[in-house]
Symmetry: C2
Subunit: 114 residues, 2 copies
DNA sequence: GACGTGTATTCCTTGACGGGCATATAACTG
DNA sequence: CAGTTATATGCCCGTCAAGGAATACACGTC
């Protein structure tokens, strides 16, 4: 379960969509097929990649296979991010945080060019 | 600067290595070439991808180009992780409870239907 | 302007990936 | 056992990304 497998699994947008879909609740392959708009074989192949990356677990319910998200590998991503968090905290500090939280602040947008 | 560009930029192990290298301090292309063990053209191509993903900024020092990490896009990854953090906190919480105070099988299976 | 250094770009080849189609496999139904 | 549903796999093909070699470009020096 190297990082490489995890990254390459999540590199694909369809697979990220599937992972996001499973965030809510486990789903059968059929449900996933409908949601992601791919053919069933393609979806199954993506699910295989996610399975081998450890991102999803599968349980059998009659003929159905119900896929559930296993968030543990994503925690590895979080760990990867860890050394960078310091950096962007520092950056925000250096830049000044007057423009980092003004999504809708028309009255006074100070032109902080630099 | 879509998520797709960011993900595909970071999907490559060499590029992640470069990004990690730049975490310490900015580096010239020559330094990066030596560190990542690729040829100079390949390294430049990877740097181009990182540049177009907004992950690095480049400044010129005579003939040298000095690349510096811009951690802001990585914050987008952090934002992507956000909805998952709850999940693994919940998992760890449940696991911790079981390991901590579950010698047998406490009747504590609350359905996560929220 | 000629040369050397440092970096970017182009061309080409190769290998991996994704998609669809057809088909195999497994499980329930009657 | 035949038929149906639900999913996985194999095959083929188009596309794309990565790597190397050669080359072009930019900058500084003499």
């Amino acid at each position: 379960m190297s990082d490489a497998v995890l990254w390459s699994a999540l590199a694909d947008p369809h697979r990220r969509a599937i992972v996001a879909l499973l965030r809510d609740r486990p789903r059968s392959v059929g449900e996933i097929v409908e949601s992601c708009g791919l053919s069933q074989p393609s979806t199954s192949k993506h699910l295989k990649v996610l399975r081998e990356a450890g991102l999803v677990r599968v349980s059998q319910d009659a003929q159905r296979r119900v896929y559930a998200l296993d968030p543990a590998p994503i925690a590895a991503l979080d760990a990867w991010l860890e050394p960078y968090r310091r950096l962007w905290n520092r950056s925000l500090d250096a830049l000044g945080r007057r423009l980092d939280e003004a999504p809708d602040d028309p009255p006074h947008p100070p032109p902080q060019k630099d």
